[in-house]
Amino acid sequence: MSEGTLYDKVWDRHKVTRLPTGQDQLFVGLHLVHEVTSPQAFGMLQERGQEVAFPERTHATVDHIVPTGNRDRPYRDDAAESMMAELEENVRDSGIDFSDPDSGDQGIVHVIGPEQGLTQPGMTIVCGDSHTSTHGAFGALAFGIGTSQIRDVLATGCVAMEKQKVRKIEVTGELGEGVTAKDVILTIIGKLGTDGGVGYVYEYAGEAIEDLGMEGRMSICNMSIEGGARAGYVNPDETTYEWLKGTDAFADDPEEFERLKPYWESIRTDDDAEYDDVVTIDGSAIEPTVTWGTTPGQTAGITEPIPDPDDLPEEDRDTARRAQKHMRVEPGDTMEGYDIDVAFLGSCTNARLKDLREAAAFVEGREVADDVRAMVVPGSQRVRDAAEAEGLDEVFKEAGFDWREPGCSMCLGMNDDQLEGDEASASSSNRNFVGRQGSKDGRTVLMSPIMVAAAAVTGEVTDVREMEEVATV
């Protein structure tokens, strides 16, 4: 068993008791709520005649179903309107803070938590959303839960869990030009598999991780779940603290920052910590990486050939064959040159200001290819406002991108933003499952924001390093 890791320490600090099932009861420091997975939980609570135990440790927003175009109420989609109305009623009745679209703070739940300073090191954070692992970038223990567990948290402020193993993933060296955090995590999942992390929490470490800003760390932790790991984290350091200082929580309260810093320092993994497993990956060898299949583990460097299913481990062959048929790709080819119809820059993985800046710097002075539908969906209203203040929206619009309102959008096709028919999408999101982007025949190629920008311009999957003037921000 691991010892002395951030995971061990945060677990111990939040453990209430051992339950008769052998699970531990953990206090939840921050419960984030959105409209899709919470209404049934509030319903169950009401059926039992219970109330929200700790509304002040709870924060809500709306992201999955919210339209990214016309947001006049009532929403044109009756189902979306009723979900929104239900959430409004639930948060009002329970006294829960709500970053609603009129607040200027609305956005994807995993974008707004960190930007408002709700997300802090050493917290336990849960949300009815598997990408809650994102918040681990701050040295929090953060994981997705199901609706019955949301009921648990609403009613008791706690979750019941078994402790997991800890795998340290050390990414050594410096990332090359045009290589981003997204390429790192796609590479990790490609190597360890979509179920390689089941039973584990991932600790990301090493020079390449430490060099990343918070946005990059969030992109990596975000996709831990795509590798089967329910949570992933990075130890807090000066980069983390600099981000926190600028948030609502501490911008006007430096004393509170100084008061909490010793706690944050105390939960960092010890130098002599023990792990259940350690994996080392050479960061300098990572290329811009894309998916060729229909799981986030089916990845290849942009110059690498798509594998022959017969060369894969036996258990992966069948999935690979079906994926290649769906995607219409051939073993031995690279993904470079794969025609795309849609470019989607958005999602909780990659829709933060830095992502938009990098993509905009590339797009400036270029044009979206004629036959490509390209859209940018900022991760939050604050990201949108900051991007507009810098004129990024104009850069995107001039190039031919659609500039939209914040939400989950085409990551999962719960609003109007969907693939149609067998359209192929270059997407900065996190899942390339069949049907994920709203059309069961749709084809998704996951990649970094800057690679999405390059694909939008050329109309095909493109090695961004081959294009001139690769800008890094």
Binding site: K15, V16, T17, L19, P20, T21, Q23, F27, G29, V36, T37, P39, Q40, G49, Q50, E51, A53, F54, P55, E56, R57, H64, D77, S82, M83, G95, G122, D129, S130, I145, G146, T147, S148, R151, D152, A155, T156, C158, A160, T194, D195, V198, I225, E226, G228, R230, L260, Y263, T295, E315, D316, R322, L412, M414, R431, F433, V434, G435, G438, K440
Partner: protein, 218 residues
């Protein structure tokens, strides 16, 4: 609003010691929750009626014509033991996935391995997720296909799956087994009983203001 307090909830959950019935095989590794229930069916505020949408896009084409899928086949009507392969339920945390399967009529899922959040969601519904070796699972899938009316018996406590003359040595994760067999899978009730200890833990955390976890809030 009255002062918030959390009670121990209602009666303890029922014990789930065994599941018996006919089987239905759904083959393939990495079947994600978007396949089990596509996101467009999640625009609802209750779980009622989700059963019909199980594996919807695998079962119907764009014109709503039936495609080949076990959930469409008459021979599996009434089956309650779903037999799957590896990493079943990966992806989204949506409880809508096991809710849909349960409302279809599935009482237990047997497979090579499960994604963690999915297995946890099943447990919260009292639906066991039972694992066994690849060879045993494939043999069971073959058997169920050939004998859709034959009974499959899962003994949660003994961790066995029995069909025909075969007894599979299976595994039910420790905490899950204990929870199901002893009927303590309603974690709201379990944890609600420890209210004072919860407040004590919360008060020991430097980032939690005392008033957020005070006993008598205004």
């Amino acid at each position: 609003m009255s002062s918030p307090e959390f009670s121990a909830g209602e009666a303890p959950a029922e014990k789930v010691t065994e599941v018996s019935g006919t089987g239905i095989p759904v083959r393939g590794n990495d079947i994600d929750t978007d396949q089990i229930i596509p996101a467009r069916f999640m625009k609802v505020v209750t779980f009622d009626g989700l059963g019909q949408f199980s594996f919807f896009d695998q079962r119907f084409d764009d014109d709503d014509n039936e495609k080949d899928h076990p959930f469409n086949e008459e021979q599996y009507r009434g089956a309650n033991v779903l037999v799957v392969n590896a990493n079943f339920g990966c992806g989204s945390s949506r409880e809508h996935a096991p809710q849909a399967l349960m409302r279809w009529g599935i009482d237990a899922v047997v497979g090579e391995s499960f994604a963690e959040i999915f297995a946890g969601n099943c447990l919260a519904l009292g639906v066991p997720t039972v694992t066994a070796d690849q060879d045993d699972i494939e043999a069971l899938q073959d058997y169920v296909e050939a004998n859709p009316d034959a009974e499959v018996d899962i003994d949660v406590a003994a961790e066995t799956i029995t069909y025909d003359d075969t007894v599979i040595d299976a595994e039910v994760h420790d905490a899950q087994r204990k929870a199901l067999v002893e009927g303590v899978w309603d974690t709201t009730a379990l944890m609600g009983a420890n209210e004072e200890a919860v407040r004590e833990t919360a008060r020991s955390l430097p980032y939690v203001p005392a008033e957020h976890v005070a006993e008598d809030e205004a």
